[in-house]
């Protein structure tokens, strides 16, 4: 069976390059911010972050004083979507002790190719995160329309003290028009590489997360879900958040367990966190959210699916706000995508 992904495309490259550096004393500055059609990079007002008083700091070398502000860049495409054959090729470089948030202003629509054979729409991202730098990529989901063909590749090269976290999610298409996973193909690949000897640039692959939805009966494979996503976390700045997700996963109620408590039992006084958890679990049930979280090979992998995008957004937002790292370390811009 021939692959639905043709080897060559008449692609129009939309190249972008972001290079963030720190000017003394703690002022992040874009030493480069370039882009070509159909990609558009729009820097927004940098978000001020509060001084790190809330977190206990085990030692200064792990958490040196953060920059005063975290710039926010909107990743935009003309018309809010990509047509067949569009190729976005973005590279991001964060210098020592800088932080950056990347987000979008709505889902990235992938249009159906009008040519035959169909051409693949591509997005490639290549990232270098230096020591003590941190990147948070929190876009809206990709929305592949019926018949579309899409492939994305995100490669993160992270120095040993650097941090990276991102959300990568895809929905079923235009539900209002009856599209349910009706695209021709969707491929996503995320890799986190550790640069462990900076002088020699030796690196090894920590994790590769790859999904390929193509071939027959994609809808049947998604089991009634309307959105699916992955969040990968790596590095000291995401340590607390990673542990939070894993602990909450372990605290999920057992499946198939019985509740032996009777109505007459005294209701124990719940702590604020237990109260929050109870409400969140209630929402998870209503929205059909299924998720997992685990530490693996020095990274943390969170996978989630929900009946609809809004359910997943609600869940993710609730988790991120309760935990607090994103808001504290990146400012409000890092939470715009779950608003």
């Amino acid at each position: 069976m021939p692959s639905p992904f043709p080897a060559t495309t008449s692609s129009i490259p939309g190249k972008g390059h972001v290079h963030l550096t720190l000017l003394p004393p703690f002022t992040p500055t874009f030493s480069s911010l370039t882009y070509t059609y159909p990609l558009k990079l729009l820097p927004s007002v940098p978000h001020t972050i509060s001084p790190p008083s809330t977190v206990a700091q085990p030692n200064e070398t792990l958490f040196p004083s953060p920059p005063q502000t975290v710039p926010l860049v909107f990743l935009l495409t003309y018309g809010g979507g990509l047509v067949a054959g569009d190729h976005i090729d973005l590279s991001i470089r964060l210098d020592l002790r800088t932080r950056l948030t990347i987000t979008t202003q709505g889902s990235t629509k992938i249009f159906k190719p009008s040519t035959f054979p169909p051409t693949t729409t591509r997005q490639d991202l290549s990232v270098h995160v230096s020591n003590h730098a941190a990147l948070w990529i929190a876009p809206d989901p990709v929305q592949p329309f019926a018949g579309s063909l899409y492939a994305q590749k995100q490669i993160f090269n992270v120095e040993s003290g650097g941090s990276v976290g991102f959300v990568d999610w895809v929905n079923e298409g235009r539900k209002a028009r009856g599209e349910r996973w009706a695209f021709e193909g969707w491929r996503g690949r995320n890799e986190i590489w550790e640069i462990y000897d900076n002088g020699l640039h030796k690196k090894r692959m920590l994790v590769r997360d790859a999904v390929a939805l193509d071939g027959k009966d994609i809808q049947g494979r998604m089991d009634g879900m309307g959105v699916f996503g992955t969040t990968l976390l790596r590095g000291p700045l995401f340590r607390l958040m990673a542990d939070f997700f894993v602990e909450e996963f372990k605290a999920l109620p057992r499946i198939g367990g019985r509740n032996w408590a009777s109505a007459s039992d005294a209701v124990p006084k719940l702590t604020l966190k237990e109260e929050w958890r109870k409400k969140r679990l209630q929402r998870e049930r209503e929205d059909g959210v299924l998720w997992t979280a685990c530490h693996v090979r020095g990274c943390t992998v969170i996978k989630f699916a929900a009946k609809e995008v809004e359910g997943a957004r609600e869940w993710l937002g609730s988790m991120l706000r309760e935990e607090g790292s994103v808001g504290r370390e990146f400012g409000d811009g890092g939470l715009m995508f779950v608003r």
Binding site: R221, I255, G256
Partner: protein
């Protein structure tokens, strides 16, 4: 990674030439040197199935595969029909397809690459480990891979000769048992099932397509036998499903779809399977380890 591809090309070329050579020899009426039984009418050339293949397709092979339902138990627990066995048995073929698709899409490229080029066994195991992100599935893969490696060392190696695959397995075993040193992080081996299976089948002269087909059929059998123990279906219905043309076509279809896929492009085809398998840890009661 490109050297893996290059070596694969060369290995494929070698296999192709070997087939041509044996065909030409057959035409010259020079039978290949082999055991004396070759000329006896009870053993016409190529008529007997491979002895090793029969051994490795045995469901009683001591790999502990019976302990893994490969997501079935969790899948059933996530549905409303968890108490309705009729609905469960109707949904079962769908799940079997998903389980096979997952296995084929994520690990078959590694099996094929390791069989085509056993020298790459350690690289392939290390790469596959970076791609196996679900802890429950990782445990299942490593438990069976290590069990097969032990089986190889204790039972199969003696008569297997010194093929490149046998040597690769020997080296792999040495490195795997070596205490990991912290500065030597490149050499972390895990012992995942698919590449070890490929090397063992290659070393026991099982052909590539037979190795891949048996790997998928064994997986199907493990899932079906888990279904029997989970009361989804009876033993005759289970054998009927294993014997069906439908299952054969499913397996063949998955081999076709993944035959040319390189390890770089191996990817999860059923993202929901990662959720079901990962959430197996949340089940209140469990009969299986995955």
């Amino acid at each position: 990674m490109s050297d893996i591809a290059d070596e694969q090309d060369v290995a494929e070329e070698a296999v192709r030439l070997e087939i041509q050579l044996s065909a030409v020899r057959a035409r010259l009426d020079h039978p290949l040197p082999s055991s004396a039984s070759d000329r006896h009418p009870a053993f016409p050339p190529q008529a007997l199935p491979s002895h090793s293949l029969l051994l490795l397709s045995d469901s009683a092979l001591p790999l502990g595969s019976f302990a893994f339902s490969n997501g079935l138990e969790s899948y059933l627990a996530h549905r409303p029909f968890s108490t309705n066995s009729k609905a469960a048995s109707e949904a079962f073929p769908h799940f079997l397809t998903l389980a096979l698709t997952t296995l084929a899409a994520t690990t078959l490229p590694y099996l094929l690459a390791a069989h085509r080029c056993p020298k790459q066994l350690q690289n392939l195991d290390a790469t596959l480990d970076a791609c196996a992100l679900c802890p429950v599935a990782r445990r299942a893969s490593v438990a069976q891979g290590k069990a097969l490696l032990t089986l190889w060392e204790r039972a199969l190696r003696a008569d297997a000769g010194d093929s490149p695959a046998a040597l690769a397995l020997g080296e792999f075993s040495v490195v795997l048992k070596r205490r990991p040193s912290p500065c030597d992080s490149d050499n972390e081996l895990s012992g995942h099932f698919a590449p070890i299976w490929a090397a063992v089948t290659c070393a026991t002269r099982i052909k590539l397509h037979e190795s891949a087909y048996t790997f998928l059929l064994n997986h199907a059998r493990a899932v079906v036998s888990a279904a029997v123990r989970a009361s989804v279906m009876g033993p005759y219905a289970a054998q009927g499903m294993l014997a069906s043309g439908w299952l054969r076509r499913e397996i063949e279809d998955m081999m076709v779809r993944n035959w040319e896929v390189g390890v770089e492009d191996a990817a999860q085809g059923v993202p929901m399977c990662d959720l079901w398998v990962g959430r197996h840890e949340l089940l209140y009661s469990r009969i299986f380890n995955s």
